[in-house]
């Protein structure tokens, strides 16, 4: 059955070769004219402020979004096999999945209520 994946690997090799070739060749094809200002971070013309790599801290809100994403993405991953097999599971499968979704909706309502979905 794994033979179905061979074309994907082949396409991966072609795409990777193309991408690596483009990125690696870029410095050699184009001109190179040194200018210190070019190498500065772009800040609309003003002198860039020196800052640590990755520009230091950023809002914790992004982490919260990432956590919520994991919760719901795992829910979706559970929904897929159920959706495929639903016709053979009958009423039992339906009730089980509705209970699962309701459980997550409680968590969702809690997050909403606590302002986890607000962005300010």
């Amino acid at each position: 059955m794994l033979s179905q994946y061979v074309p994907i690997v082949a396409l991966f090799a072609l795409a990777a070769g193309f991408a690596v070739f483009s990125v690696a060749m870029a410095p050699y094809i184009g001109p190179r004219r040194y200018n210190r200002a070019k190498l500065d971070a772009y800040e609309c013309g003003i002198e860039p402020v020196h800052q640590p790599l990755g520009a230091g801290r950023f809002p914790v809100k992004y982490y919260l979004t990432a956590m919520l994403f994991i919760v719901f993405d795992i829910e979706i991953v559970f929904l897929y096999p159920w959706a495929v097999a639903n016709d053979s599971l009958g009423i039992f499968g339906l009730v089980e999945m509705v209970l699962f979704i309701v459980t997550l909706l409680v968590a969702y309502a809690y997050v909403w209520r606590r302002g986890g979905l607000e962005w300010d």
């Binding site: 179905q4 061979v6 772009y42 990755g54 979706i76 639903n86 016709d87 962005w119």
Partner: protein
Amino acid sequence: MPNLDSFGHDVWWIILIKVVAVFAILVVMTLFTIWLERRVVGRMQQRIGPNRVGPQGLLQSLADGLKLAFKEDIMPALADKPVYFLAPIIAAIPAFLAFSVIPLGPEVSIFGERTPLQLTDVPVGVLIVLACSSMGVYGIVLAGWASGSTYPLLGGLRSAAQLISYEIGMGLAVVPVFLYAGSLSTSEVVASQENVWHIAPLFVSFVIYFISVVGETNRAPFDLPEAESELVGGFHTEYSSLKFALFFLAEYINIVTVSALATTLFLGGWRAPFGLGTVWAGANEGWLPIVWFLGKVFAFIFVFIWLRGTLPRLRYDQFMAFGWKVLVPVGLLWIVVVATLRTLSREYDWSFLQSILFVGIPLAIVLIVLLLLPDKAAEPEDDETLYGIMPEQPETSYPIPPLDLIVPSIVPSNVTSNVTSKALSSAERTDSA
């Protein structure tokens, strides 16, 4: 009719032809889409658009790509060099891979070999597309982070938050399709749409899917990671030359891929439109279905361009709220409704009217009641804070003059020091008058 068993038997040179063909199709469609976008948006803005390079300006994007290759490749001094180098590669590869399971047509014969017009198909077909679109996020985040600059970092973060938020909506929107198709494999989803396209029973899913993918591909009106007025170019501000070209390529390939996936899941894939297949059997055979497929894909791409030409950009908090507070709950409820209807009508052998009666009407009543519930009680308006007395000033701050400050025309010399250190309140002004 190709199904899962039709895949995995190709000889090596057929695989090679298909791989090169998919690669070429994607690159050519990217170039064509960029040209189409510039022409269509030009028309929508009462301009002509590019029309000099080649007939009707068709070679314009190719010329632009070549020009980019001959531009200087700048490595910013503060950049994290290995990651900066890898990010465009990580963005581009999944974009190509996502297209590998999209069916372009039925079985045809290439040099005497029968093979389906699809690179490959696996039992988890659509998951491959979703996985690749998730991997693309890494390229964008790493590009923003590795540039060592503020604008790209903010653009990359915004992009990541946006992509993962709208991926939930997209993932939920395709679940009912699998309920109907009973399979995750793209060729079997197309096969299940022989009589009715999934867009008809699953219109809500289709709408959620389309809105989500507009967010997922960073297109207007959801193009916040590249909001020029706020973030210059977003995550690729510091990129130039072919590295920039790779990001651009990945972005447009993603647009093509999500349009192709929408065609596959909701619009019957490569099947002839308007029931043409029932009156003319040849419409769904041989090489012709590629035309139907490309027609549907470009119809989607046109809508993408149309949205860009019409709608202004959303504010970021509104945009995130829409994804989390509208698309996610609607998607979940719609899955429950579809599953309930489908299971009950099969178990109890209901007709269409009966299922409407037993499930649709109660659901409609619940929805109407929910809609009639009042929103949060309106906040009592405090007139005093708006008019008359000025709002209190924070204790520690420097003195702020009140909004209705009237500068006295003649200031006696003995009170000058008082006036400059303290703003006149309205009460004091009435006294002096």
